[in-house]
């Protein structure tokens, strides 16, 4: 139809022109308003990173939170640091908080490989990317990154060292971690996949001390009463190794060999004093800062530049390198 191209009387189409002009200006104005409202040019300081870990009572998780907070602030973010205490419900509430606060990103050391999938999916649906540290979840494509300590590899290192210091024979006890924590089972499996290959090594007791130093102390006491001839103790983490070591010292059994897991400053000191033989250091500081750096890159460019799953190896700490260890970092 070419009617509009005919030369109409100006008055008749002026009304329509004004209408269109009005609409046009309105559309442009809306566009400007919407553009300003959603501009990525908003300051990074307005952007919030929510850091969620297990309880900071354990120096490992405290270090994670501190390292992540420091890096986030350095990059211009504001930070909210929370602990879920290994409780899936609490973790869910914290994800809700992050969503309500319109967080830019979540850094999460999660409360369980299965139970956390839904929480991370919920954040994703709300437009918040999650960067997992230390522990995996059992589904890919949900979190943007999973920067995990290789707990199994670390346990393999600890198990191998334990087998060697035990001379491949003798009775030993194992203290396992909190049963609800996937890492408790992963480390125990890592230990046993090595130690069970040595028929001369006999596990005479296996008890959970729930990651707790005081619980490990009392469990060690009762194990000693039942098995006074024990030659070694292998613990799922350093706080339990410290508890076991204290009980052994108190009972005059300082010659019993002890191996832990995490790489805490306490155990470093005990290794240097000869009270504990070895531990596997998780690079808590490094993985936390990696997660924040990758989150920042993701927010700015839409990609981390890395695959989703990134493995960070544990390092065996013995008397040979204990002096280089501080706050879950090994200096060169």
């Amino acid at each position: 139809m070419r009617r509009e191209e005919e030369a109409p009387a100006l008055g008749h189409n002026m009304g329509r022109y004004k209408l269109f002009k009005g609409i046009g200006i309105g559309v442009i104005a809306m566009g400007v308003l919407l553009g300003l409202g959603g501009a990525p040019a908003a300051h990074a300081a307005d952007k919030l990173m929510v850091i969620i870990t297990p309880s900071h009572d354990n120096p490992f998780f405290a270090t994670e939170a501190e390292a992540a907070s420091a890096k986030a602030k350095e990059l211009g973010y504001s930070v909210l640091s929370l602990s879920h205490d290994d409780d899936a419900d609490k973790q869910n509430q914290m994800i809700d908080t992050a969503i309500a606060r319109k967080a830019a990103a979540i850094i999460l050391d999660n409360a369980g490989a299965d139970v956390s999938i839904a929480a991370v999916e919920k954040a994703k649906a709300a437009g918040i990317p999650t960067f997992l540290i230390d522990r995996e979840i059992n589904k890919t494509g949900v979190a943007v990154a999973e920067i995990v300590s290789n707990n199994y590899q670390g346990a393999t290192l600890g198990g191998q060292e334990f087998a060697q210091v035990m001379g491949e024979t003798g009775n030993y006890a194992e203290l396992t971690g909190k049963a609800s924590d996937t890492n408790a089972g992963i480390r125990s499996k890592g230990y046993h996949d090595v130690l069970d290959q040595f028929p001369g090594l006999k596990m005479v007791a296996q008890q959970s001390a729930d990651w707790s130093q005081t619980e490990a102390y009392s469990k060690m006491e009762s194990i000693l009463q039942a098995h006074p001839d024990i030659k070694g103790v292998i613990a799922g983490n350093d706080t339990m190794a410290m508890g076991a070591s204290a009980a052994l010292q108190a009972a005059g059994k300082g010659n019993v060999l002890v191996v832990g897991f995490d790489g805490s400053n306490d155990v470093r000191d005990a290794i240097e004093a000869g009270k504990i033989q070895a531990t596997a250091m998780q690079p808590a500081f490094e993985i936390s800062q990696m997660a924040v750096t990758e989150a920042d890159k993701y927010l700015k460019t839409g990609s981390t530049g890395e695959p989703e799953k990134q493995l960070v190896d544990c390092v065996l700490i013995t008397k040979a390198n204990a002096s280089k260890l501080n706050n879950f970092t090994l200096s060169p």
Binding site: D114, N138, T156, I186, F198, E286, K309, L311, D313
Partner: protein, 228 residues
């Protein structure tokens, strides 16, 4: 449909069609890497996963793992010399980068030398070999208990991201160690090699990281003499 499926009664046509399809499928699958992604069937690490690492490795071994070491291993003395000269160049020329951050490079190496010591008292058995042109003794893990994941770490076609979690990834390492050990024991009895010359190929973690020249062998045979 292909010509081959023409002719004959319906049953035989379908049979031939199925054979052709199966053949195609098998042909495609044999070149494929089995990749596992998504939700794991079970998460309790104490309960057996649905993943069978031994079977996985067994189907990779002959078509991919052995040929890799047979074709891509570099002479051990050459690799060590290159590392001493310029480690980062040598890494790129001969090595496989660390699978994990903070890990070490791993090298596929081959060599030959005289066995100067064998320790089978420890279950973590070792063999010491004097390699011409290499000043430090070379230690080979002969098992039955083998430590570490060097064989897995050497292979460019296996990555952590191919597996559901670190446990599966670790089980593959163990299965590779086991498969290698079984193959070697078919060739010789390590306990009886003292003073003999052995030719081997295997995976060597960066000596700068381990502080020694250690090889997890993948192939080994007595050199210039009847096998035992």
């Amino acid at each position: 449909m292909l010509e081959i499926t023409q002719g004959g009664d319906r049953a035989s046509r379908h049979f031939r069609r199925d054979v052709v399809l199966l053949g195609l499928a098998a042909g495609l699958l044999s070149g494929c890497k089995i990749v596992r992604n998504g939700t794991s069937a079970t998460t309790d690490p104490q309960k057996p996963d649905s993943f069978n690492a031994r079977a996985y490795v067994a189907q990779l071994w002959t078509p991919r793992v052995l040929p890799f070491f047979q074709q891509k291993s570099a002479d051990l003395a050459t690799v060590l010399g290159a590392l001493a000269k310029n480690a980062s160049d040598a890494d790129k020329s001969f090595g496989q980068p660390p699978a994990a951050s903070g890990g070490n490079w791993t090298f596929a190496v081959k060599s030959e030398g005289k066995v100067t010591a064998v320790d089978t008292k420890s279950l973590h058995g070792t063999m010491t070999v004097a390699v011409p042109g290499v000043s430090t003794p070379v230690t080979l893990q002969i098992g039955p208990v083998v430590f570490g994941s060097a064989i897995r770490d050497c292979l460019p076609f296996l990555a952590f991201s191919d597996f559901v979690n670190q446990i599966e990834y670790a089980e593959v390492a163990r299965a590779l160690n086991g498969q290698a050990g079984a193959g070697i024991r078919q060739q010789l009895d390590p306990a009886k090699t003292l003073g003999r010359v052995v030719a081997f190929s295997g995976a060597m973690p960066d000596p700068a990281a381990t502080g020694a020249v250690q090889v997890t062998p993948v192939t080994m045979r007595l050199s210039g003499g009847a096998g035992q």
